[in-house]
Symmetry: C2
Subunit: 387 residues, 2 copies
C-alpha cells in the first residue's frame, strides 16, 4: 500500500507552521467555501434520541431525495439504484470490489486521483494507465491507446469528469468515444463526477447520460466538494445494473451503515435553491482565471486552462516536483509565507512522469491566491533545482 | 463476498411490518438506550462554518481525549497510538490489511461476529475457525486447538471480548493463554473490545493489559455500543506497534478522514460523568437476567449465562435456524407480533454448525423482552420444523 502522495508532506507543513510560517494550502481539495448554513442547521436542529445505524444502503428518505437531485441533472434513477456511501472514497472501493476479481485490470487515463491506486491495491486489481498530456490540456487519450491497453483481464475504465487532478472537462463526443469502447469490449465505466457542478467551459456530460450503456455505467458520487462538506463523509454509488448493485450491497452490509449525521445534511442539500451553485461556481471561475493567468505569467511555467473542477496542473522549470514541494515547506519562505502544492508524480502511475508538474487546488480566495503566486514566483527564482 | 447473514432477513421483516405485524428486533446490536444528550448536544451546538476533512488519523483533540478514556481503563497509550476510524468496522479492516498479506491466515474462535468474514474476504486473508462450544458457554477453546491450527501462514488471532455473538467474557487467565500463544508464535492479537463496559460477571481484561505483548496487540474499538451511537460511525484503531500504525495510516489516508460530526460526539462522550455506564450496565444486566431465565424456562431451550456484551446464544429444538428465523417473519405471529432473531449459522465459519442456535440481542426493554419471549415460546410450539 503506497503512502498518500499528498498527505505525506503534511509533517513538513506542520513543522513550517510551528516555525511561524504561513502556509497557503493549494495542496488538497478542501474548499474554503462555507458549507450551506441550511445544511448544517438541518443537523443542528435534528431531534432524534438515539443515533441509530441507518439502512446499509442509507436512509430511504435521503435516497428518494437524491432521485430528484439526479433528475435535475437529467440522470434518471430510482432510489433502488442508489447506495449511500461513506464518502466518494467508499463508492470507488465498492465499484472495484463489486465488479472485479483479483488480478483484473482497470484502465485509467493518467494523471489520475492518487487514491485510485490505493483502492485498487485494496481490491487487488491492477491499474493500467494511459497517458494524457499537458500539451493537450489532458484531453482524452486517442481511442487507439485504449484499444492497445485492453486485455482479457480488462474489466473497467475509470473517468473522472471534470477531472481531478487536471481540471479537464470531457466533451460530449469524448464521452461517446468512451461509450463505444465500453460497449465494444463489454467493460464497466466507473464515473467519478464529484465536481459535476463546477464546469466553466461548456456543459457536463454525465456517464449516466450515455444511452445504451446503462448496464455498464457505475457513478461514484460525493457531496464533499459540491456542498463543501468534505468532513461529512457522504457519497453515493449509483448504477442501473442490478447485479452490480447487489454485489456492492454485500460490502455495504459488512460495514453496517454510512454516517447518520451527514445523511441529514445531504438530504437538506437537495432542497437548496436552484441557484445555489451559481455563486460558488462564479467564485471558483474567478479563482481559476486568476491562478491560470498568474501561473502562465511566470517565466518557464505552463498551465493549460482547466474547464472544470477546482484544480490546475502546471509544468514548472524544476528538476523534481517531490523535492520542490518538500523544499517549499522545509527551506523556503517569502514575506513569512510559503505554499503547499501536490507533486504531480503522485498522480501518475508510470514511474518518472510528472516530475516537472504540480497540482494546484484553487480553494483559497483570490487575495490568498495572488499572495501564493507571489510566493511561487519567488520560490522558482531561488530553488536550487531550477532547470 | 457473502451476504450479511443478519441483514439478508431484512426484506422479510419489512414485509411482515407491511402486513401490520409488530416485529421485536432481537436480531441486531442496535441498542434502544438513548444516546447521551450531552453528546448529541455537542454536535447540535457546534458552530464551525466549513465541514472540513479532519486529519486522516482523526482530530488530534479527540485522540488526546481518548488517551484519558483509555487511562481510566488502565490502558496506557498516547494520541500517536490511535487512528480514529469509520466505525469499528474500519478498524477491523485496517488491521487485517495492515498486518497481513494475501493468503495469510487469521484464527478466530467460532461462533464469531459474521462481518469478520466479509472483511477477511476484502483483505484476501483466510479465516481459520476454532470451535468454541455452547456447553461451556463458549469459553476459550483449549490451547491445543490453537496449536493445531497454526501454520506458517498464520499471522493473527482475533478475540472479541466480551464476545459478540456469544456474550462470553474472557477471564484474565484465558487472556494470558492467548498472550502466550501470540508471543510463542509471533502473531498479532486483534482485540475487538466494543463491549468493554458491559461486563456483568467479573472484570474486563483488555488485550492492552497484557504485559510484554505490546507489539503484538491491535485494539479495534468503537463508540457505537458504548454510547449507543451506532450511526456515528466512529471507532478507533489502537496499537503501540509503530510499524503497524504506519501501515494502517496509509489506508486511513486513502479514504481521507473519518466522519467529522461524530468525532465531536465522541469527544464529548469522554467527558460524561464516571458513573455514566452504571445505569446502562444495570439496565442491560436486568435484561440479560430476564431473557436468559425466560429462555431456559422454555422446554428444549438452552442458554448459557453470558458474562458481558448484550447478546445471548440459545440452542433451540429446531431443524434449521435460517429456516426458523425466516418462518418467524414470513409465516408466524402471536398476538399480532413476531420476533426477528439472528440465525447462528452466520456466526460459524464451519458449514453445518449453528443450525440449532440463534443469537438474541437484548437491546429492548424488559417488557418487550418478555413479550418477545412469549412469541418465541408459542413459535416453538407451532414451528413445523421442531425437533
Amino acid at each position: 500500500m503506497p503512502s498518500s502522495p499528498i498527505r505525506k508532506l503534511v509533517p513538513y507543513a506542520e513543522t513550517a507552521k510551528k516555525k511561524g510560517i504561513k502556509v497557503f494550502h493549494l495542496n488538497i481539495g478542501q474548499p474554503d467555501i462555507e458549507t450551506p448554513k441550511a445544511c448544517l442547521d438541518a443537523v443542528r436542529n435534528s431531534d432524534f434520541k438515539v443515533l441509530e445505524y441507518s439502512h446499509s444502503a442509507g436512509n430511504e428518505s435521503y435516497r428518494r431525495k437524491l432521485v430528484a437531485y439526479y433528475a435535475k441533472n437529467n440522470i434518471e434513477v430510482t432510489h433502488n439504484d442508489i447506495i449511500i456511501t461513506t464518502g466518494g472514497s467508499e463508492a470507488i472501493l465498492f465499484g472495484l470490489m463489486a465488479c472485479m476479481d483479483a488480478g483484473d485490470e482497470v484502465i485509467i487515463p493518467e494523471p489520475f486521483y492518487a487514491n485510485y491506486n490505493g483502492f485498487a491495491i485494496q481490491a487487488d486489481v491492477k491499474v493500467i494507465p494511459i497517458k494524457s498530456s499537458i500539451e493537450t490540456g489532458f484531453s482524452l487519450p486517442p481511442i487507439e491507446d485504449f484499444e492497445k491497453a485492453i486485455t482479457p483481464r480488462t474489466k473497467a475504465i475509470v473517468v473522472c469528469n471534470p477531472n481531478n487532478p487536471t481540471g479537464y472537462l470531457y466533451s460530449a463526443s469524448e464521452m461517446e468515444i468512451l461509450k463505444e469502447i465500453i460497449i465494444k469490449h463489454n467493460l464497466f465505466l466507473f464515473a467519478d463526477e464529484a465536481y459535476r457542478e463546477f464546469c466553466y467551459e461548456g456543459t457536463h456530460t454525465s456517464a449516466m447520460h450515455l444511452k445504451g450503456a446503462e448496464n455498464n455505467v457505475v457513478l461514484m458520487d460525493t457531496i464533499s466538494k459540491r456542498y463543501s462538506a468534505c468532513g461529512g463523509r457522504i457519497g453515493a454509488f449509483v448504477t442501473k445494473n442490478k447485479q452490480v448493485l447487489d454485489a456492492a450491497m454485500k460490502f455495504a452490509q459488512a460495514r453496517l451503515s454510512p454516517p447518520s449525521f451527514a445523511q441529514i445534511l445531504g438530504e437538506a442539500a437537495v432542497d437548496l435553491p436552484d441557484n445555489y451553485f451559481d455563486t460558488t461556481k462564479a467564485e471558483y471561475k474567478r479563482r481559476r482565471d486568476t491562478i491560470v493567468s498568474r501561473l502562465n505569467s511566470i517565466k518557464g511555467v505552463f498551465c493549460p486552462n482547466p474547464g472544470g473542477a477546482f484544480y490546475a496542473m502546471a509544468r514548472l522549470p524544476i528538476d523534481d516536483s517531490d523535492k520542490f514541494c518538500q523544499w517549499l515547506l522545509e527551506s523556503f519562505s517569502h514575506n513569512g509565507a510559503t505554499i503547499m502544492l501536490a507533486p504531480a508524480t503522485g498522480f501518475y502511475s508510470t514511474p518518472g512522469l510528472g516530475k516537472n508538474e504540480v497540482r494546484l487546488a484553487y480553494v483559497l480566495n483570490e487575495e490568498s491566491i495572488n499572495q501564493a503566486m507571489d510566493v511561487l514566483e519567488e520560490a522558482l527564482n531561488q530553488y536550487p533545482g531550477r532547470v
